[in-house]
Amino acid sequence: MSAEPPKEPVKYVESAVHLPYHYVAGDYRATYLRALKDKRILGSRCSKTGKVFVPPIVASPETFAPCEEFVEVPDRGVVTTFCIVNIPVIGRNLELPYVAASVALDGAAISIYALIQECKPEDARMGMRVEAVWKPDGEREGRWEDILYFRPTGEPDAKPETYINRL
């Protein structure tokens, strides 16, 4: 052992943390994801208020009541709020700029996050009607990515009072 301190002092200690996980989907998610394979979108209904949550959840965060009834909602809805993405996002290789939106599906009490395509950023607006574009038959796997994106339907815009509480 040398009494001299090292000429190059140790400045850092590498401490790589490796923590693998194997998440349980849970019966609610499993039911929801399986339905996507059949181009069906499921929600669950609050036993107290009748509100439908998409994706389905076990209990209403609002009322604490159970949401045990699964209901199907259409694959179309309304843009409740949106933003225009001008910077690349990790894991998403899309032509910039593009529109990312909250979409309240018809009959759903809350919105889901959705990519909007076939839509110029300057045309995006709150109240715009959109529909899902699915992966073709045979290619859907029961994953969220089974919906490629949403696109405008060309229907008349929804009135704010129909979606303002579903942001």
Binding site: S15, V17, Y21, V24, V58, P61, F64
Partner: protein, 373 residues
């Protein structure tokens, strides 16, 4: 001891502990447990002032994982809430303190976490310092084995003593419907199980599993309305020690001893021997012997009964194991312990811990009567 506010455990619910629940996420497991605990008290969520959770985000495998639990806790309209990255038993202490401050009259205390989704031994390694201890891969079994060796050297305890402690817990656990391991095992059989980390055998280690728990606490005036036989808190204290394993005597628990001394003094008792049962959170037989020594009781004696539930050696849902000790003492004092009921239980001690080798200890003393007139 000046007069404190009488606070009681008035409800407790848990899921039976399992190795892995394939059907539910952590929060999906928690929701029905909170519903049941409240239903047992005959109230809706609105009747409760405060909510507090014990969980660990590393176990959930997501930053702010605890926030997801808010969605199943009845957190709306906006509630007072707190989360501890600790066993939920410590959350119960926090709620008790808030009641002493007069800020709240009632609370739900929940524990949750799916140990099967990640690798608890890797996660709990991260409780140690990243330079010297975590870096060499020490996990809780390894540190417990270091502690066991040192304890056995100090006291002369041998393999047969450890087997006897484990066997007594296993025998008790066979009567506990919420336990994960429910088959009794003889000391001889356990002493033949393979070494995990010598001197600890596989048969001396807890089955790491998952559950969800919910305890209801209420102050006097409200407690009597929520439960016909509340378990009143007579004393409580928690103490912590140094993190560095080499800087403390692993063969004793100074913090468990001091917490017990303070809690028992608050309760007006001369010692833990004056109680009818003790539920302690010991993750190895050696930890049980160390905590019993700190409490001044002999685990082999008939009274007080130690771990009538079978303890952590029969069920160890991480982050709930300590809260279950408190819940078990409530069940005993309220006469709801079923097959494992200790006859005429009037006073009990519940112990919880956190960290490697009994680093932090929490001791409760409870009774069937109010402590302060």
């Amino acid at each position: 001891m000046s007069r404190l506010r009488n606070v009681a455990v008035v409800g407790f619910a848990q899921l039976p502990t399992v190795a892995r629940d394939e059907h539910r996420t952590s929060t999906e497991m928690l929701y029905p447990v909170i519903r049941r605990a409240l239903a047992d008290c005959g109230v809706e969520r609105d009747a409760i002032d405060f909510q507090i959770a014990g969980s660990v985000d590393y176990m959930d495998g997501r930053p702010f994982g605890f926030v997801q639990a808010l969605d199943v806790m009845g957190s709306w309209p906006a509630r007072q809430d707190l989360h501890l990255e600790m066993d939920a038993a410590f959350g119960a202490h926090y709620a008790w303190i808030k009641m002493q401050a007069g800020e709240i009259d009632s609370a739900i205390v929940v524990g949750h976490g799916k140990t099967s989704e990640g690798e608890p031994e890797r996660i709990l390694n991260l409780q140690l310092d990243p330079y010297y201890q975590a870096a060499i891969g020490l996990d809780p079994v390894s540190t417990a084995a270091l502690q066991a060796s040192a304890y056995m050297a100090r006291t002369g305890a041998g393999d047969a003593d450890l087997a006897a402690v484990a066997a007594r817990n296993r025998k008790a656990g066979a009567r506990n419907a919420d336990a994960q391991v429910r088959n009794a095992a003889s000391p001889d059989a356990l002493a033949k199980t393979p070494w995990a980390v010598e001197p600890l055998r596989a048969g001396y280690l807890p089955p790491v599993g998952e559950s969800a728990t919910c305890l209801v606490l209420a102050a006097e005036g409200k407690a009597e309305k929520l439960c016909d036989r509340p378990a009143w808190v007579h004393g409580v204290d928690q103490r912590t020690e140094l993190q560095t394993l080499g800087a403390r005597d692993l063969t004793r628990s100074a913090s468990a001893g001091l917490a017990a001394e303070k809690a028992l003094a608050m309760a007006g008792l001369g010692g833990a021997r004056e109680t009818d049962l003790i539920e302690l959170m010991a993750l190895t037989p050696v930890e049980e012997l160390i905590v019993c020594e700190a409490l001044g009781v002999d685990a082999r004696a008939q009274a007080p009964s130690v771990n009538p539930s079978g303890g952590a050696l029969c069920a160890h849902p991480v982050m709930s194991t300590g809260l279950i000790r408190l819940g078990e003492t409530f069940r005993q004092l309220a006469g709801r312990a079923g097959e494992r009921q200790v006859p005429n239980a009037r006073r009990a001690v519940a112990h919880a811990q956190q960290g490697h080798c009994l680093q932090q200890n929490l001791v409760w003393v409870l009774g069937t009567e109010k402590r302060w007139a």
